[in-house]
């Protein structure tokens, strides 16, 4: 896995005029990197993260994933890359409320066309890995905050992605839980060689990165 970003920019157009959310971002990310992105609120961290694999369409610049350009490819081709290679973890967990723990974790596999018994087997395995073996049939609202975030992590991991993108994964968690989740991300990063790109506010969390990026006003600061 490698990810190369050249002169990436995103300009939002609103009623109040144009907003340069990110500007002239150049970045190289390699396999097994743990990248942390920090910066003040509104500095463009989320925009950068979500632009990488097409959830936000960049205004200009180039993105290469495994040496292939992906910033100008079709929506369905980008969806296919996300489906096969990327796991997302959001601050709000983004679980589907009417699906149980195990069903939520099965979705990425279902999108890949994995058969049902295999879906259940793999979802159960990864839930066991995050310590939720005995919460398989709970709905999200029946879980604690920390448990919900672990479901989200399980869902991001279940299809063996090569990259995990996390937008403030510990933003809603208390310090102890935060550390647990961060250790967990570090563990999959080192043990499985999965690249982690994590947006965070917390200096502690930022320390987990081997590559630490700071944004200010949409630009990289060194």
């Amino acid at each position: 896995m490698n990810l190369t970003i050249e002169k990436l920019a995103k300009e939002y157009t609103t009623k109040d005029g144009k907003v340069n959310a990110i500007n002239n971002i150049n970045l190289v990310i390699n396999k097994s990197d743990f990248v942390t992105i920090t910066g003040p609120s509104g500095s463009g961290k989320s925009t950068l993260l979500l632009s990488l694999f097409g959830l936000i369409k960049p205004s200009s610049g180039k993105i290469f994933f495994d040496d292939k350009r992906i910033d100008n490819i079709s929506d369905s081709a980008l969806a296919k890359i996300r489906k096969n290679h990327i796991g997302f973890i959001m601050q709000n967990f983004a679980l589907i409320p009417y699906l149980t723990t195990v069903q939520n974790v099965m979705i990425p596999l279902s999108l890949l066309g994995v058969n049902k018994s295999e879906q259940i087997k793999r979802a159960t395995e990864v839930l066991e890995f995050v310590g939720l073996k005995n919460r398989l049939n709970h709905l999200p609202r029946q879980l604690s905050i920390g448990q919900q975030q672990r479901v989200a992590i399980a869902r991001a991991l279940v299809h063996n992605p090569s990259v995990i993108l996390a937008d403030e994964p510990t933003g809603n968690l208390d310090p102890a839980l935060s550390l647990e989740i961060l250790d967990f991300l570090k563990k999959i990063n080192t043990e499985k060689g999965i690249t982690v790109i994590m947006v965070t506010h917390s200096p502690t969390a930022a320390e987990y990165g081997n590559k630490k990026i700071k944004l200010n006003n949409g630009e990289l600061v060194n």
């Binding site: 989320s46 979500l50 959830l55 936000i56 929506d75 369905s76 969806a79 296919k80 890359i81 996300r82 489906k83 096969n84 990327i86 997302f88 959001m90 601050q91 709000n92 983004a94 679980l95 589907i96 409320p97 009417y98 699906l99 069903q103 099965m106 979705i107 990425p108 596999l109 279902s110 999108l111 049902k116 879906q119 869902r155 937008d167």
Partner: protein, 406 residues
């Protein structure tokens, strides 16, 4: 986990909304199915009546409609039995046969049935089918061969009927129409109690497909006693010579029978055909209405559903669902709702038709399974039409906008 499971679980989660989505479609289809299932039977009945009815003139009490003749309400007006005599002793020619009848709706246990008093020997075993029941006596001599020109003009070919009479019917014997025998679970020689009088069912008549199938027949004097209507009848069915009809038979009859309504079967049939045409028009109007109302209410429901699920759509897109998959998610949901709405509409409409048919058209209505297919097709098409645009807009939703929302 697959697309269908997601749709199913989401639907299940929000059951009450589901009802509002398909209500208009279901009700619309129910009305159409009800109207059509009654109207189809009534159409068949017109055809059969032309084939099977021996009489071609009806004498009814003044102020009664043809509907009264079929539905036989309790307080429908009557004629004096003496009118039969009056016609016989008059100098009017061209009346080949007359059958006076007294018809009333009565109760057998909890079931409401139509009891018809007939006069053996004069009751026309008009219905060719009845003749197989072994009831028939001598063949009736006709003064002139009945012309079927009128019937042909309605599009029905009518074989030359052999007109025979029912010979005998004992005081407490009765004949059962084929449907009513099934409904009351009676066979030949069973006993049946009507207004606390026990009758013996001597015959179950073969199915004719007309109102006769839903009736119980007994001797007219017995029925008059039973209903406390001495010498009263509700109708005289006359077999008139066609030449005589064109030479003014109806007018002559009117002169000697005051306070009556005298009409030809031809007119009755035209009235029924009119009614059926009206039914078809009503159906068409309903079809157009449910297309719009059903489509719009479905579209409205899906649009609300899309808005409610912005975040969920974002999550699915984040995980790699394509736009097409989101589009499909809502279209499949529409198809599913269409199927449910169509089946429900068919079932409700059929039940309504079966319950109302005997009262509105005087005959029993059977489920028309062909209409299930049409209901499904119609309902799915309406649901899909209403959903195409909201589903398309759903697929266009930017994946990231709602991802970060709480």
């Amino acid at each position: 986990m697959n697309t269908f499971k997601i749709i199913w679980l989401e639907l299940w989660k929000r059951k009450s909304q589901l009802i509002s989505g398909i209500l208009a479609i279901t009700l619309g289809i129910a009305v159409i199915v009800a109207i059509q299932s009654i109207s189809v039977v009534s159409k068949q009945n017109v055809a059969k009546k032309l084939d099977n009815l021996g009489a071609n003139i009806l004498v009814l009490p003044q102020g009664t409609s043809i509907d009264d003749y079929y539905t036989s309400d309790i307080d429908a007006p009557t004629l004096p039995m003496e009118y039969v005599e009056r016609i016989l002793t008059s100098s009017i020619s061209g009346v080949d046969n007359m059958s006076p009848k007294l018809t009333r709706r009565v109760k057998v246990g909890e079931t409401s049935i139509v009891l018809t008093g007939i006069l053996p020997k004069s009751e026309i075993a008009s219905k060719p089918l009845w003749q197989n029941a072994g009831l028939v006596g001598a063949e009736l001599e006709t003064a002139c061969a009945p012309s079927n020109a009128e019937n042909k003009s309605q599009g029905f070919e009518d074989e030359k009927l052999k007109r025979k009479v029912i010979d005998t019917l004992n005081r407490y014997d009765c004949l059962l129409g084929s449907q009513i025998s099934k409904k009351l679970k009676l066979v030949e020689n069973s006993k049946i109690t009507i207004n606390s009088q026990e009758f013996k069912a001597v015959k179950v008549l073969p199915e004719t497909g007309t109102v006769d199938d839903d009736r119980v027949f007994a001797h007219i004097t017995t029925v008059q006693e039973l209903l406390n209507a001495p010498d009263q009848i509700s109708t005289i069915e006359i077999m008139g010579c066609c030449n005589a009809i064109s030479e003014g038979l109806l007018g002559k009859l009117r002169n000697i029978l005051p306070d009556t309504r005298i009409t030809t079967i031809n007119q009755i049939v035209s009235t029924q055909i009119e009614t059926n045409r009206l039914m078809d028009k009503v159906t068409l109007i309903f079809l157009i209405i449910i297309f719009f109302v059903g489509g719009i209410s479905m579209g409205n429901y899906i649009w609300a559903n899309v808005n409610e699920r912005h975040k969920e759509i974002g999550v699915l897109r984040m995980m790699g669902a394509s736009k097409g998959m989101i589009y499909k998610l809502f279209l499949f949901k529409a198809v599913f709702l269409g199927i449910v709405g169509g089946i429900l509409g068919f079932v409700i409409g059929t039940i309504a038709g079966m319950l109302l048919g005997p009262y509105l058209a005087g005959m029993s209505v059977q489920p028309l399974y062909m209409y299930l297919l049409w209901s499904l097709l119609l309902s799915i098409v309406i649901a899909l039409t209403g959903t195409v645009i909201p589903a398309y807009l759903a697929s266009k939703i930017d994946p990231h906008t709602n991802l970060q929302e709480e």
